[in-house]
């Protein structure tokens, strides 16, 4: 248990230096308690150092933990998100058997001021997507296979949609994308949905087509399912797949009734 504080500029700088130096040795957790490198939050929040099975669980926990803070100001609180990344660094960037870590780019842990990178911070993205999309955030946060889930995985879907604010900010669009791409039984994205820009029906293509629809449709106010009906034939394989799986799910559920 730890009373949460936000890192100040000096704390962020020192944490960044530690990462740049290979993140070797003990975690600099003292940065979270020293008044020279951190400052108290307005509210007293106690964080538990749970071990999370996946990023969706992590996102849900963060939403509960930070529920007393104002979401609008919270979203850009660089010191807080960076402090949380330091607190859970052992799960975001776990050491190997020899105690060595392989940290990714600094912006994965330290919330970047650069608009190209801020959505890539591992803690904030988990909180933000669950905050905005609830259960549909599983599209962004879960891997296709359970064994690939880990807290340090940013994921291709989040990478491809995260930078497009008009998409990631739309509850309706993400709900429809989740219906299209997620397995209705497991709630996980199906394998192969990321693809490349030349892969028909991929997530990246959905972003491109939605950009075209954005000119003529108000997707936020469309009835459930209407958006999926508009999608061109390149999405056919994903549109038909959920129905089949859902039907199977209903039969199974009905069969299970006494």
């Amino acid at each position: 248990m730890m009373q949460l504080r936000r890192l100040n500029e000096e704390g962020i700088l020192q944490f960044g230096d530690w990462i740049a130096g290979g993140a070797s040795g003990a975690l600099p957790l003292h940065l979270l308690t020293s008044p020279e490198t951190s400052a108290p939050l307005g509210a007293a929040i106690i964080a538990e150092k749970f071990v999370f099975k996946d990023r969706y669980e992590f996102g849900k926990y963060l939403n509960t933990l930070l529920a007393s803070l104002e979401p609008a100001s919270l979203a850009r609180d660089r010191g807080l998100w960076t402090a949380l990344a330091l607190l859970w660094f052992d799960q975001l960037c776990p050491p190997d058997g020899n105690g060595h870590r392989k940290p990714e780019k600094e912006y994965r842990y330290i919330l970047s001021r650069d608009f190209r990178h801020y959505y890539r911070q591992l803690v904030r993205s988990a909180w933000q997507t669950v905050h905005q999309h609830g259960e549909d955030a599983r599209l962004f946060l879960l891997a296709s296979r359970e064994e690939d889930d880990r807290l340090g995985r940013h994921g291709d879907i989040l990478e491809q949609l995260g930078s497009r604010q008009f998409l990631v900010g739309s509850r309706r669009t993400i709900a429809e994308a989740s219906r299209l791409y997620c397995d209705p039984v497991t709630g996980r994205p199906r394998r192969g949905v990321t693809g490349g820009k030349n892969t028909g029906g991929s997530v990246r293509r959905l972003a491109a087509v939605m950009q075209q629809f954005d000119l003529t449709f108000d997707s936020e106010n469309m009835a459930s399912g209407s958006l999926l009906a508009l999608l061109p034939k390149e999405f056919a394989k994903w549109k038909s797949a959920p129905k089949a799986a859902a039907a199977k799910g209903v039969v199974t559920a009905a069969a299970a009734q006494p």
Binding site: G22, N198, Q212, F213, T216
Partner: protein, 607 residues
């Protein structure tokens, strides 16, 4: 007769794809920019003498005969392109371009072209993901050459090299596709255009004078007797233009050009230390690689000071605690502060102790330059290794109120920082594999080098007090009563000349699921036949719909759309572009079958 061949892959060999193309065409570095950076870096790695290295870029449009001649060179490559899913339609266009890149006052691809000797010829043509470079040289990863094939729409290029002592130039071609199956056999991703094979089936370059001369004339290679390397990229990517190349040169190589170490020629534009300012002023994008405007006066002042003895030398290497007060005697601190306060350029040399794993420690140094920010200007940082600017490092000088430059020119520090560099040479990585393989405590050394400029700024700028009489003018300003009696400004009536309205020659009409192109009143004045290019794309709210087009939106070549013609012929150019050859004033084109849920953007113009 030279032609294309792809080696057969033994069944036992693991397939390895050249997957690193995105490193040279991404959000941070665009293709034209990556091409400029890689080419010039390669050329400045191989100077032949003490003078400036010259690099020439030229884009040549071929005539009808030459277009056919060039196309025939790829007859045997075409099926391989098809198997690999590479669009070969560029070969069939009526008018094509060739990009030629040549360096002068350089050594060319040295080494035995008929042996695997680890020299430049071997590294350039026969290695991928491995470089023979090190020390002061810019390259490290052996991936930079991938930018040449990436720049061609058919993933191919030719190279001609002349070395000191060569009787004739050596000419060869390469295509970098993907591993594929052709003729029932697994084939490697790299294919060669070559003459004959030697020991171990090694592909030998063509040196026959007649063939080389014919290729030189066809491709527009200017080199005759000068040593160096010429690259010809057929069917270059549409985004590569003389303007985008000039922009790339201005943004990335301002430092060596202003220092007189590099001269670049792009088409008819010469960029050297004398013409640089004029060229930069005429370049639409004056921003640096990191987006900031480049204060050329400061850069030039730094360039001019490079050869001079620095007025201040730091005491002791910075490896321990970084650059601090303890590195200077008191008098030096005082003189630096007063020079900084007087808006003079500070030049400080800072020793760095490097610890190679092989051999003893090496004493090297970096040069730091600092100048206070002129009024109204934005901070700027320049990190230079050898001839390369490393824009990603600028963030280590953020939050300051000054112009700063960190120049690493000494051999050992250039060697060290080169090992830390990413493949696109845009940033240093403390965890780079090459760094930890060759150096002890590299992360700490790199950290102190990165922060040295900022540390120097903290030393000299933290207690500078300046009087600014206008600092609070916005809060305590007094109204100027004299102005209020002047009254409103008199309006000057502008007479707008009446110009005759230009008659439209092309009319674009919307129709259900498509569009029609019909003649407008101006079409009667045309001389026939006339060529009209038609571009189509689904529109988007922000950005260029044509650029954002994907063949998955629709493909005009695939027969999925209905095309009706009247007194015109049509040739597909790209998946969203048609070339219309109009025979008479009563022409028409109708295309239908588009998705009616998306808005269509149509552009038609004469060629």
């Amino acid at each position: 007769m030279a032609d294309w061949e792809f080696e057969e892959l033994p069944a036992s060999l693991v397939e390895q794809e050249p997957t690193q193309r995105d490193q040279f065409n991404n959000d941070d570095v665009e293709l034209a920019e990556a091409l400029v950076r890689e080419v010039i870096q390669n050329s400045t790695d191989a100077p032949a003498g003490a003078g400036a290295v010259k690099v020439r870029f030229a884009i040549r449009s071929l005539g009808q005969n030459q277009t056919q001649q060039l196309g025939s060179l790829f007859a045997n490559l075409r099926p391989h392109l098809q198997v690999c899913g590479v669009d070969a339609s560029a070969i069939d266009q009526a008018s094509v371009r060739v990009l030629v890149i040549e360096d002068f006052n350089t050594r060319g691809l040295t080494g035995n072209p008929e042996a695997l000797d680890g020299e430049n010829f071997h590294n350039f043509w026969r290695r991928h993901g491995k470089s023979g470079k090190g020390g002061k040289q810019g390259g490290r990863w052996g991936l930079g050459k991938l930018v040449f094939s990436t720049s061609s729409q058919i993933r191919s290029f030719f190279g001609l090299t002349l070395r000191s002592g060569d009787a004739a130039p050596l000419f060869m071609g390469q295509a970098v596709l993907s591993n594929h199956v052709f003729g029932g056999k697994r084939r490697a991703a790299h294919g060669f255009w070559f003459g004959a094979r030697g020991i171990d089936r090694l592909q030998h370059p063509v040196s026959d004078a007649g063939t080389v001369q014919a290729m030189r004339a066809l491709l527009g290679i200017a080199r005759t007797t000068e040593t160096g390397l010429s690259i010809a990229i057929p069917y270059p990517n549409q985004d590569i233009t003389e303007q985008s190349i000039i922009g790339g040169v201005v943004r990335n190589y301002y430092f060596p050009i202003l220092a007189g170490r590099l001269v670049v020629e792009v088409g008819s534009v010469l960029i050297d230390d004398k013409t640089f300012h004029k060229v930069a002023a005429a370049t639409s994008s004056g921003g640096g690689a990191a987006g900031a405007r480049i204060p050329l006066g400061f850069v030039e002042e730094v360039s001019n000071r490079l050869g001079a003895t620095p007025p201040v030398n730091a005491q002791g290497a910075i490896n321990g605690n970084g650059l601090a007060v303890s590195n200077f005697v008191e008098a030096d601190i005082a003189s630096m502060k007063s020079a900084f306060a007087a808006h003079k350029l500070l030049h400080v040399r800072v020793p760095v102790r490097l610890k190679p794993k092989a051999g003893g420690d090496a004493n090297s140094f970096i040069d730091l330059f600092l100048k206070p920010l002129p009024d109204g200007e934005k901070p700027f940082a320049l990190f230079v290794r050898g001839a390369i600017t490393v824009p990603g490092e600028n963030r280590y000088f953020s939050g300051t109120h000054a112009y700063g430059a960190m120049v690493a020119s000494d051999g050992d520090i250039v060697d060290f920082l080169g090992d830390a560099e990413n493949p696109a040479h845009t940033a240093w990585n403390a965890n780079a594999e090459k760094l930890s393989q060759r150096w002890r405590s590299p992360a700490q050394t790199l950290r102190h080098v990165r922060y040295a400029l900022r540390d120097l700024y903290s030393l000299v700028a933290e207690r500078v007090e300046q009087e600014d009489r206008d600092a609070l003018v916005d809060f305590f300003s007094l109204a100027d009563k004299a102005r209020s009696v002047q009254g409103p400004k008199k309006r000057v009536k502008v007479v707008v000349p009446v110009l005759p309205k230009r008659a439209k020659a092309i009319s674009i009409q919307s129709r259900k699921g498509g569009f029609t192109i019909a003649p407008g009143p101006g079409a009667s004045a045309w001389t026939y036949p006339k060529t009209v290019d038609v571009r189509v794309a689904y529109d988007i709210v922000r950005g260029d719909g044509f650029k954002a087009h994907s063949r998955l939106d629709f493909d005009l070549n695939e027969g999925e759309l209905e095309i009706e013609l009247k007194n015109a012929d049509v040739t597909p150019v790209r998946s969203n572009k048609l070339r219309l050859l109009v025979a008479s004033p009563d022409f028409g084109l109708t295309v239908s079958g588009f998705d009616e849920n998306r808005d269509l953007l149509v552009d038609a113009r004469t060629v």
